[in-house]
């Protein structure tokens, strides 16, 4: 099962710790908000990803196993 990292964009305040702890997957934009290079977390980065999730001061970062269920789109 592959793991996927995602950001709750409403919670995220752009503290930027995630990009420091997981630079392989996360960049910051010009305002300090995370840009996910890839949501898929390769096995060898799993511990780093977990650390980044734990370090987020507003708990905006999530690590989920498996692919998110597909569902209807957001705009009706």
């Amino acid at each position: 099962m592959s793991e996927v990292i995602s950001v709750d964009r409403i919670r995220c305040d752009g503290h930027g710790l995630c990009a420091e702890l997981l630079p392989e997957l996360i960049d910051l934009d010009d305002w300090g908000y995370p840009l996910l290079r890839s949501g898929q977390v390769p096995h060898h980065l799993r511990d780093h990803a977990k650390r980044a999730v734990a370090a987020c001061p507003v708990q905006a970062l999530r690590l989920q196993t498996g692919v998110q269920a597909a569902g209807p789109s957001r705009r009706a």
């Binding site: 934009d29 957001r74 009706a76």
Partner: protein, 413 residues
């Protein structure tokens, strides 16, 4: 056999106001019996009907997802917020054919097992609100206390589906984080089918005339018909019904032909994309074909850009609107949209900073997927299309501070 394919706007002219229940039923006949409405999901799947709110998600699949929930009654939210500035098709439909919209909402409720219907209508669409309120009164026996009308607050984002649910639940029309999506947990925590009012009205025609009727109503490989809103330098702008697959040039002809030569057309709305007029002219208004070409049918906006208006300035105006319409919850949307709106405005007004165009090129790809809702995706896509279609103009504004329209010294409209 029907001689002519019925459409959403057949019947009395819009100017005659809302169609009465008697006229509506006399023209279209009764809805299928209640026990037959469960089968409608399969009929809709077979019809190929896609949602008309903007995203174009298959309607049948959406109904099935809600119908196959684990437990409890569902809710149907008929979305008539229509915040898109260039679109008027939903308010026109609700005002002129309220009973068709109610038919669709009722069918949806019976098909997915909903005991409540919320008609979510933009508060600024006064005629539509009045028509639907009156129509509900005229069909109290059918609807009972199942349905109520909620006035959606003015705003581009109010119609986003999580924002609609949030407003009905907590009087806060800002989008929420997903999951859960409304089909999982929506109004009062129940599975909620959020469906645009035009999509619902079409289901009421498909229920009567069949999936085959709908599939063959389009041209070429496109299925069905759709409402579009035409704007720009044409004698007869406004809402009209087209067969999907109709080329843009034919839509212009139906609106009385372009009054002047022009360069570009905005397709799909502020959430859509610019297309060069020569590319668009023969292009079919067909959601699948448009998606393949990097365009979007969206909510059916066909906005011709007047020849004398600078594409950079028009894009700046749209981006400023989009930035102001952000619900202000997600950093990339708040800062990113403000930044692209400001840089494009500087370019449009001859006040470009040396790296504005470079930054726009970089930023436009960084907006998609960066918000709780897709508002930043819409702005980013629009900007990307502008940089492609008006590329030479953007460059002239950056490097020569020149605009062939001579608008440079004037603040963009």
């Amino acid at each position: 056999m029907l001689q002519r394919k019925p459409g959403l706007l057949d019947g009395p002219p819009f100017a005659a106001g809302a169609e009465s229940p008697a006229a509506h039923q006399g023209r279209l006949g009764l809805l299928p019996a209640r026990r037959d409405r469960l089968g409608l999901v399969a009929t809709l799947e077979a019809s190929g009907l896609q949602g008309r709110g903007g995203a174009g998600f298959p309607v049948g699949r959406k109904w099935r997802t809600v119908a196959e929930r684990a437990r409890g009654n569902a809710v149907v939210l008929a979305n008539g917020a229509e915040g898109e500035p260039l679109s008027a098709k939903d308010r026109t439909l609700m005002a002129a054919r309220p009973h068709l919209v109610l038919d669709g909402a009722l069918l949806a409720a019976d098909a997915v097992g909903a005991d409540r219907i919320v008609l979510y209508v933009g508060e600024e669409h006064h005629t539509a609100v009045a028509a639907l309120e009156r129509a509900l009164g005229e069909r109290r026996r059918e609807f009972g206390r199942r349905a109520r009308l909620v006035r959606a607050p003015v705003g581009y984002v109010s119609g986003e589906e999580t924002a609609a649910v949030h407003y009905v639940n907590e009087a806060d029309a800002r989008p929420t984080s997903t999951p859960p999506r409304p089909f999982q947990r929506g109004v009062d925590g129940r599975a909620t089918l959020v469906q645009n009012v035009e999509s619902l009205a079409l289901t009421a025609l498909i229920a009567r005339f069949g999936d085959d009727w709908y599939r063959t109503a389009g041209r070429g490989s496109a299925a069905g018909s759709a409402l579009v809103t035409v704007s720009g330098p044409v004698p007869y702008p406004g809402v009209r019904e087209i067969e999907l697959g109709t080329p843009v040039g034919e839509v212009a002809a139906a609106a009385g032909h372009l009054r002047e030569p022009l360069e570009a057309v905005l397709l799909g709305g502020y959430f859509g994309a610019w297309a060069p007029i020569e590319e668009a002219w023969h292009a079919a208004l067909d959601p699948a074909a448009m998606r393949a070409a990097g365009l979007a049918f969206g909510c059916g906006v066909v906005g011709f850009l007047p020849g004398e208006v600078c594409g950079v300035a028009a894009t700046a105006r749209i981006l400023r609107y989009m930035a102001a319409a952000s619900s202000g919850q997600c950093g990339p949307c708040v800062f990113g949209l403000a930044a692209v709106a400001e840089a494009t405005t500087r370019l449009a007004t001859g006040a470009a900073l040396p790296d504005d165009l470079d930054r726009l090129n970089r930023w436009c790809g960084q907006l998609a997927g960066r918000g709780a809702c897709r508002h930043p995706d819409g702005a980013g896509g629009l900007l990307q299309s502008a940089l492609r279609v008006f590329g030479a103009e953007f460059a002239a504004h950056q490097w020569h501070r020149r605009c062939k329209h001579g608008h440079l010294l004037r603040k963009a409209a």
